[in-house]
Symmetry: none
Subunit: 221 residues, 4 copies
DNA sequence: GATGAATGAGTTTTCATTCAT
DNA sequence: CATGAATGAAAACTCATTCAT
């Protein structure tokens, strides 16, 4: 048993196993939390879904809420990735907003249930039971903030009509998140995106014609 | 003490007490459900909040879900009242939409927490746990349907730009419901309404100028 | 409102009503106790079955166990009536036993469920929960005692073979009570009685031939 | 501590503990069910009586009725063992019945309370509350069936007097089960058996003298 | 006297969490 | 480190009993 080999490789192997187990647990938790709700999901069910022993859960999470946090952190990371768009800094605000819309709708469609979970949890943050994610702002807020920046830019550049930036960004965020509403998914994703871009750009005072035409040609992205 | 008076009032007295108790329970349930969430609220807590005995709860509600239903029914009634607007049938669609927006935003502001509860509950409808109200459509759906009718009317009359009616009504419903998002209430209600009307009418292709000015004589911020 | 008439008749009328109510409650309790068991029967159910108000139950019975006692007392009275047979004192013991058998089987068939309830209750008398009837001996014991007297008489008179009187009376009581066993009622009552008389008289050493013949002709009773 | 020994014994140790716990629970349940009745026994009491934690009960039994089933299954197994007597197939029916009687009385004496519980439960089978054992026939029925076979054999061979086989087997079963009646146990077991054999064989028309004398050389009391 | 509304003690059951193996 | 057995706190729900009308 060569010490060097063991000490060098052993931690790595373990670490990989640990990571695999943790991932399995988080994935299982996401499936069950979003399907049945947080309270209705038992730890035993999560462990089973992850094909791991019952007690093993507690070797990876302090708590059931820790698992929830882990699930939500994924969603937060996803949103952060979507919202952070430094490369859009040099395109016109309208174009940047269209791109953001595209990314948001696609991400929302992909993570509908987790986003809904996040929304639900954020409603009860700071209340008696502390389920919540650590200190992330609620989804609509994050989204609205990102949009707000773009609107401010567009107003400044004269692209967008003047108006209350905060309110309008909230409205747009609301329109974006409408895709989370239950009967979602009945439209083609691309159609939703096109319509939404048209909708919000018009609302911001941008002449729609070309924008829409462009998008129809699927050229924008 | 006239006998007739006694026999006439006697049943009423009990009934009034019953009604008072029931109202107290519903109010208590609404407070706790919206504050802590449905699952986190115990029946003991509801009874205590209503200042009634524990078992008394069960004389008025079969179930915890029955109390939830009662709470939501209030909200449903409120929305129904808001969405039903026969008197708007003869005004232009744009004006009708503006009025609807006004009513919705005011109602949402008044019932923020209950509407949020409704939204939350409707996310888990059709899942393992059957919390939901009997057969009420989710809030966003009801709202979107009402809006959809107006949009269709406006498109037909030429007031609104053509486009997917269903999608656009959904976007507007989302914008409306944005007021439910946590950091709400930081704006004057009237300002929100004005901005929202401006926002959605522009999005539908209506020239905004007069509309905004008309509403309160306030200049758009 | 003539005082005399009222004071004279009023109590009687009331008493009749009271008696009627009480009877209804006892009958309802018997039906439900025997159908569902004592513990599974709620006072509300008894009152409803008796078509009386809920709280009325407590004007007639101190307790749920009081209702049980009332039900059992009926059965005890019935058994006492069946077992007391002074008029059989001057017939031969065999004939007296046959008559007793006849009466017991008919009573048991008529009161199967109450007797079973009695048996069940007597199993747990003197235990933690005091359900039991006041101080009545269990059904098998009462029955065996009555039989024991007859056997003693028959042994003394030489009709019956000698043997342990107590044990044999117990065996016969057991045979009698077999009719309480679940799949009862598949035989003609008279056939059961005939077979049982034949069985027990043989067991006691009485030549069966005539006895059986007689009974077949239905002449004995 | 040899590794092999550990790996071999390790699983067994747990299993043994599990078995011990389960046995403790069943024993506790039997004690309490028979002492206080099924309904009057709480799960907390069973767990306490078994000296185990409250929740532990539910690791071994789905339900209180599951514990009842486990208790009754013991009794059913015991009865099955007693009633199955293939080795008696070649002895005369009278002798086989005498042996069966012997076994039944001894088993009944040993399991008086459980048999009584079984009887009690079978009275309420098929009613609203489904307590009963899965699909075991009631005790008296099982017993009567076994006896019925012997009587049929004896009648065919000419040992027993002709007569209704079903009824007579029921009577004998009743006599056997009389030992379950409360004031039992005041007689020597052997005396009961002797008297019962004499009783039932006479009842079936078998000349008693030898039979009784043979059994233990004791003269009939 | 009849009634049923109010009440809370008592039971069953679930499940997060601990801990010995 | 993985596991699952043990545990009891907590919650829903029932129902006997009391009491005001």
């Amino acid at each position: 048993m060569p010490i060097s080999g063991v000490t060098l490789e052993s931690p790595t192997r373990l670490e990989r196993k640990r990571a695999r187990n943790r991932d399995a647990l988080v994935a299982a938790a996401r499936r069950l939390f979003t399907r049945d709700g947080f309270e209705a999901t038992t730890i035993a069910a999560i462990a089973e879904e992850a094909d791991l022993g019952f007690g093993t859960f507690y070797r990876y999470f302090e708590d059931k809420t820790a698992a929830l946090r882990a699930v939500l952190e994924e969603a937060v990371r996803e949103i952060d990735r979507v919202l952070r768009a430094e490369d859009d800094a040099d395109v016109p605000a309208a174009e940047a907003l269209a791109r953001l819309t595209d990314r948001v709708v696609r991400a929302a469609a992909r993570n509908r249930s987790v986003f809904a979970l996040w929304w639900e949890v954020s409603m009860h943050s700071g209340k008696s039971r502390r389920l919540g994610p650590p200190n992330t702002p609620p989804l609509p807020v994050s989204l609205a903030q990102a949009i707000e920046g773009l609107i401010a830019r567009g107003v400044e550049s004269g692209e967008f009509a003047p108006g209350d930036t905060a309110l309008r960004s909230g409205f747009i965020a609301g329109a974006h998140l409408h895709v989370l509403a239950p009967p979602a998914g009945r439209h083609e994703e691309q159609d939703v995106i096109d319509a939404l871009c048209d909708f919000e750009l018009r609302a911001l005072g941008v002449a729609p014609a070309q924008g829409t035409k462009d998008r129809k040609g699927r050229a924008t992205r």
